[in-house]
Amino acid sequence: MIDFELSQSIQDQKKLVHQVAQEGMRPISREFDEKEHEKPWDFLKFMWQVAGGRAMTGENTDGKPRSGAKENTLTAAVTIEELSWGDAGIYLTIPNAGLGGAAVAAAGTPEQKKRFLARFSSGEPKWAAMAITEPHCGSDSAAIQTTATRDGDHWVINGTKVFCTSGLMAGEKSEGFVVVWATVDKTAGRGGIKSFVVEANTPGMKVIKVENKLGIRASDTAMIVFEDCRIPADNILGSAEVVKSTEGFKGAMATFDATRPLVAASALGIGQAALDLAREELEKAGRPIRYGSSDATLTAIEKDFMDAESDLHAARLLTWRAAWMMDRGKRNNLEASMAKAKAGLAVTRATQKAVELLGPLGYSRKLLLEKWMRDAKINDIFEGTQQINMLIVARRILGYSSKELS
């Protein structure tokens, strides 16, 4: 039955996480934006402790369903929105299985899930990252140049990866891993692309640069070089046969169906933070937002605010839909990209508008608003740019292959 009310357990989770965001993240937000390459260790350890690297994000990292797991993705979406309401940069650097874990969950065998994901339930904080983009290939994942060559019981990886979120933490600063996309056969195009798990500190893998960024500065974005990096043969994600089929790429791409709603959810949190603050400031100034009359009686501020609010909430419902479909086992490739595309636009607009609405105060680093505007823009770019997501939506509604529409 059509219903938009979140279940009680999600509502409880939301309330709890909101408090964590308010009390644990907001107070340190400015500090770790400015100390770009430092980590808020206290908070990260706290999150690891209470959440075991998974519970807070609702991610199902150990291969076993959690209780109430039928709303797993939706719970994650709501949780991530709240964490990102707190601080999107810090959220991104919370130790957990993250994108790398999602790739293992989407494409790995049961054995692999166990081997790679169990670690997130205990011990020291760990991260897992995903390394896809290369210096000369942006959104076009099929153009990957990094190679994986079979040598006896090993794969040997060579290549350079950029824009790898949490790459430093996953690759060098914890007992995590990096999932690397590489081709086993350059002549095979997409069919040759597979994903491989490279354990942290494997010789031959090196983080050579951590980017200075516009926003989400608490999160490390790494450039990683693989030089004759040898990994065990069974670190290729999927079954043995996967090597011979084109399933590797599809499996890897399927990861995005799961992660895009979560990335969209993060966007929503930033946008909501901006609107909440703007509303609060306007109310303080005696200019509340009034609903229910007509546009002809609104102020310019109200109109702009409502446009942004509706856009953002529309993105939220698209995001929840994509998550709900995931939880129901429905294919959500189209809907995940719709959510990501809309959320990326909505959050950039909402944050940019909020800064404008608050005038000099909006532009000032006295408030976090300007930071949220900087953080927001990443949502049009990572995990598939705005354009890539529109392409995917277009292909799906038109029934076109990536060859027919690129």
Binding site: G292, S293, A314, L318, M338, A341, A394, I397, L398, L405
Partner: protein, 363 residues
């Protein structure tokens, strides 16, 4: 618990009404637009689907089925996908029946509801006022108490089926806030002015009406002294209007999509060009977004909660999106979008009205 799966019953009614809209309404939409009229047989056939009387209690001759704003949204979307004007025509009697059903006194229900259970019976509501800053939270039409009666004064526009209706539900500002009044045709001072000519909605007969000291008895006030939740009625009508707009936008999107896959330029279907493909993708996203906003508001109303903010925002959103979507559909078709051999220009003309429409369809 968050869930977007319609019930089996909702799917059934969606498919039934959807087929009717596709087979009986859509094919005549262009002719109706050009002639400015709607064939009676389609109206009668639509009536037989139970669109008006199914929620009317059995003791008043209906089927006594449950009202649901969400189900209403689903139905209205299907009808809107056929044609908005025809949809508004066949749904018009609801504008009296549903408010009375929801908030009428027992006497009002007994007196009014049976009219709508035998066959299509025209009735209407007078909501919008002809000024640019018409505001549903404060009507300029007034209802003044005078010796146990009310005296109504004001001007209304966009009143569907005003010429053939025998009963008008008039929204007016009373001394205790917005109120609704049942005004019988022929009441002294009620004048149905000449039929409106608008950019769109051409098949739908709408009129301005003038209320000049129209005296109605106290029991003509819907809900009696206790009154009636006008704001809820307006919210239910917003759901209806949103859904009609979404249905129309959906038709425009589907038409443009198929055209773009057929039409070639520079050697390939124009749908293979990013400029066109992204326009279509945006349409698809915004149709879904608009529907979700509308359903959320409807679901809230079904739970009996106040959803004024949700309905208001959904209405603004849908009105803006339906215009953008139909405008882009014209654009995708180019010259073919501009000529009346294709339905797209009609949708575009209808679309621009939604920012001004209020209370012209209800769920």
């Amino acid at each position: 618990m968050f869930d977007l799966e319609p019930t089996d019953e909702q799917k059934l009614i969606r498919d039934t009404v959807g087929s009717f809209a596709k087979e009986r309404i859509a094919p005549i939409a262009r002719d109706c637009d050009e002639s400015g009229s709607i064939p009676k047989d389609v109206v009668d056939q639509a009536w037989e689907l139970g669109l008006i009387h199914s929620p009317i209690p059995e003791e008043q001759g209906g089927y006594g089925e449950e009202r649901s704003a969400v189900t209403g949204a689903i139905v209205a979307e299907e009808l809107g996908a056929g044609d908005v004007s025809i949809a508004m025509h066949v749904l018009a009697p609801r504008l009296v029946a549903y408010p009375v059903l929801d908030g009428g006194t027992p006497e009002q229900r007994k007196q009014v509801l049976p009219r709508f259970t035998k066959e299509f019976h025209a009735a209407t509501a007078a909501v919008v006022e002809p000024r640019f800053d018409f505001d549903t939270s404060r009507f300029a039409t007034t209802a003044r108490r005078a010796n146990g009666s009310y005296v109504l004064d004001g001007q209304k526009c966009f009143v569907p089926l005003a010429e053939e209706s025998d009963l008008f539900l008039v929204l007016a500002e009373s001394d205790d806030g917005p109120a609704a009044f049942l005004v019988e045709r022929g009441a002294a001072g009620l004048e149905v002015l000449e039929r409106e000519k608008n950019m769109g909605l051409k098949p739908l007969a709408t009129n301005e009406i003038a209320l000049r000291g129209v005296k109605v008895p106290a029991d003509a006030r819907v809900g009696g002294e206790a009154g009636f939740d006008v704001s809820r009625m307006l919210n239910l009508s917003r759901i209806g209007l949103c859904s009609l707009a979404i249905g129309m936008a959906r038709s425009a999107f589907e038409f443009a999509r198929e055209y773009a896959k057929e039409r070639k330029a520079f050697g390939v279907p124009i749908a293979q060009k990013q400029a066109i493909a992204f326009m279509l993708a945006d349409m698809a996203i915004e149709i879904d977004a608009a529907r979700l906003l509308t359903w959320e508001a409807a679901a809230k109303l079904d739970k009996g909660e106040d959803a004024t903010r949700e309905c208001f925002l959904a209405k603004r959103y849908c009105a803006a999106q339906v215009l953008k979507i139909t405008d882009n559909a014209v654009q995708v078709l180019g010259g073919h979008g501009y000529i009346r051999d294709f339905p797209v220009e009609l949708w575009f003309r209808n679309a621009r009205g939604f920012s001004s429409f209020e209370g012209m369809a209800i769920v």
